[in-house]
C-alpha cells in the first residue's frame, strides 16, 4: 500500500485521570472502507473527535494526506477533506433539508460575501450551481422530494441519511460515519449499508464506519479495528476479527449484558 490517507500513530487522550484512548494506531488508505467497532464506551466516538480536531490528543500523531492535523481546528480539518456524521444527529434545526446540505457546500463555493451583496451574474450562476449540486446529492439518497421540509421534522432514518448527504456535500476524501444505522430496523440497516458501499465507490471515498452492530460492519468493511476500553484489541479482515478470541471475549461480555 502507498502512503495512507489517514494515519494515527500511538494516539492517546486523557480527560483528567481517565485515559479514554491509549496508544491507538490506525491507517486508512485511499478508497478503503474500514470499520471501527467496540462495545459501548470503548472510545469510538472519541477517536472520531480526535480525527476531526474536536479534541487534541494528549500524545501521539495524526496525519491526513501526508500532513499533520494536530493544532488544527475542526473547520480546517473539514476543509482538508474529512467529513463526519454525529452519533446524536446534529442537523441544523432551523433549516430545511435543502439548506442543511447547501450550508455544507460552503467549502467549495465559488462565490462569497461580496457576491452575496452585489448580486451580479456571478452570484446567480454560483447559487444555481450550488442548487444543482445539492439536488444531485439529495436525489441519490431519495430526499429530493422533501427539500423544503424542516430537517428536524423528517423521520429518524431520513435524518440519519440527510446527515450523510450533508457530509458528502463538503466533497470529502474521508467520510467518518458515527453509528449511521443506529435506531434503524434490520432491513433499513441492510439498505443503508448498500448505500454506503455505493457512495464510497461513486465518490471514490475512504470511509471509516463506527458501528455498534458487529454483523452490519462485517457485511461491508474490508478491514475492521476493534476498540475496547480505549485499547485496540484487534485488527484484520472480517473473517480474522470473527475468530479473534479477545474480540469474542469483549463482545460476549457485551452480548450478555444486552440479553
Amino acid at each position: 500500500m502507498s502512503e495512507p490517507l489517514l494515519e494515527l500513530k500511538n494516539v492517546t487522550i486523557r480527560f483528567g485521570g481517565l485515559t479514554a484512548i491509549s496508544g491507538f494506531d490506525l491507517h486508512i488508505g485511499d478508497r478503503e472502507l474500514i470499520g471501527l467497532i467496540g462495545p459501548n464506551g470503548a472510545g469510538k466516538t472519541t477517536a472520531f473527535n480526535l480525527i476531526t480536531g474536536v479534541y487534541q490528543p494528549t500524545e501521539g500523531a495524526i496525519h491526513f494526506a501526508g500532513r499533520t492535523t494536530l493544532g488544527q481546528r475542526p473547520y480546517q480539518i473539514a476543509k482538508r477533506g474529512i467529513a463526519r456524521t454525529f452519533q446524536n444527529i446534529r442537523l441544523f434545526g432551523s433549516m430545511n433539508v435543502f439548506d442543511n446540505v447547501r450550508t455544507a457546500v460552503q467549502v467549495h463555493r465559488s462565490h462569497g460575501i461580496r457576491d452575496a451583496l452585489v448580486r451580479m451574474g456571478g452570484f446567480r450562476r454560483g447559487e444555481a450551481d450550488v442548487e444543482k449540486q445539492v439536488m444531485e446529492l439529495l436525489e441519490i439518497f431519495s430526499l429530493h422530494k422533501q427539500r423544503d421540509e424542516m430537517a428536524k421534522s423528517l423521520p429518524y432514518g431520513d435524518q440519519r441519511r440527510l446527515e450523510i448527504v450533508r457530509a458528502l456535500a463538503t466533497k470529502p476524501k474521508l467520510l467518518l460515519l458515527d453509528e449511521p444505522a443506529a435506531g434503524m430496523n434490520p432491513t433499513e440497516k441492510v439498505e443503508l449499508m448498500k448505500l454506503i458501499r455505493f457512495v464510497q465507490e461513486k465518490f471514490g471515498l475512504a470511509v471509516l464506519l463506527v458501528e455498534h452492530d458487529m454483523k452490519v460492519v462485517m457485511g461491508i468493511c474490508e478491514r475492521i479495528a476493534v476498540l475496547d476500553y480505549g485499547l485496540k484489541i484487534g485488527e484484520g479482515t472480517p473473517a480474522e476479527i470473527q475468530k479473534n478470541p479477545k474480540v469474542i471475549a469483549a463482545y460476549l461480555g457485551q452480548e450478555a449484558e444486552h440479553a
Binding site: Y75, T103, V105, A116, F123
Partner: protein, 310 residues
Amino acid sequence: MMHIGAKRSLLTAILIAVVVSLFSAHFNRYYRDVAIDVAINIILAVSLNLILGHTGQFSLGHAGFMAVGGYIAAKITLVFGVTAVAWAQPLIFLGALLVGGIVAALAGLAVGVPSLRLRGDYLAIVTLGFGEIIRVIFQTSETFGAATGLVAIPKWTTLGWGFGIAAITVYVVGCLVNSTYGRGFIAVHDDEIAAGAMGINPVRYKVTAFVIGAFFAGVAGGLYAHQKTTLSPGGFDFMKSIDIVVMVILGGMGNTAGVIAAAVILTVVQEPLRALGPLRMVVFALIIIVLMMLRPQGLFSFGKKKGASA
C-alpha cells in the same frame, strides 16, 4: 430563486424614501420626527438581528456602538460640515455617517474577537462592559464635550436619509443571510460543532456578523445625532441596548419582517410607554421572560421557522 429582485426592491425603496422626503416640509413635525425615529430603530433592530437572531450571539452593547458612530459622525460634521457650502453638506454628512459606522465596526472588532473566539456567552458580559466604558470615555473626553456632550449638531437627518439607509440595512442583512454564504450564520446559530465539521469557521462568522452589526449601529448613531441635534453620554445607556434587544425578541429572532414590525410598533408606542416611568422596563422585562418561555420565535412569526424568511 429567491432574491433576483432584491436589488430592484432596494433601489425602489430608496427612491420612494427620497421622494417622500422632498415633501416632508408639509408633514406634521411631530409625526415626521417619530417616522425618523422609526427608521433609525429599524436600522438598529435589523442590524442586531444579524448578531442575535441569525447568528445567535447575545450582545448587550448595541447602544455602545451607536454612541461611537453618533459621536464620531457629529464631531466630523461640527468640524467640517457647518461651515461648508450647501452643496457639499450632503457629501460631508454621508462621509460622517460612513466614518462613524467604520469606527463603530472597528470597536466591534476589538470587542468581538477576544470574546467570540471563546464561548459565546462571554459576549453578553463583555459588551455590557463595553457600553459602560464607552460612556466613561465620552464623559471624560473634552473633545467630545465631556458630561455636557455635543450640542448644535445640524439637523440633517431627513426621512430620505433615514429610510434610505434603513432600506440599505435590510438589503444587506437580507442578502447576506439569504445566500449560500449566509447559511453559515444560521448554521453557527443552530450548532457550532456541526457547523465546524462542515468546514465553516464559527469564529469568523460570529465576528463578521458582529462587525457588520456594529457598523450599522454606528451609522444609526450618526443619523440619531443629526436628528436630535444634541448628544449626551447618558443617552446611550444599557437601557437603550435593551430596547433594541426587545425589538428583536418581540419580532422573532432571525425574522427580519417581524423585527421591522416590532421596531415600528415599539417606536410608535414609545411615548405612552415613557409615561409609565420605571414600569416601562418592568413591562419590557416581562415581555422578555414571557416570550422566551412561551414564544421564543417572537410574536410575528406564524408557522414559519427562523431562517425561512428574510
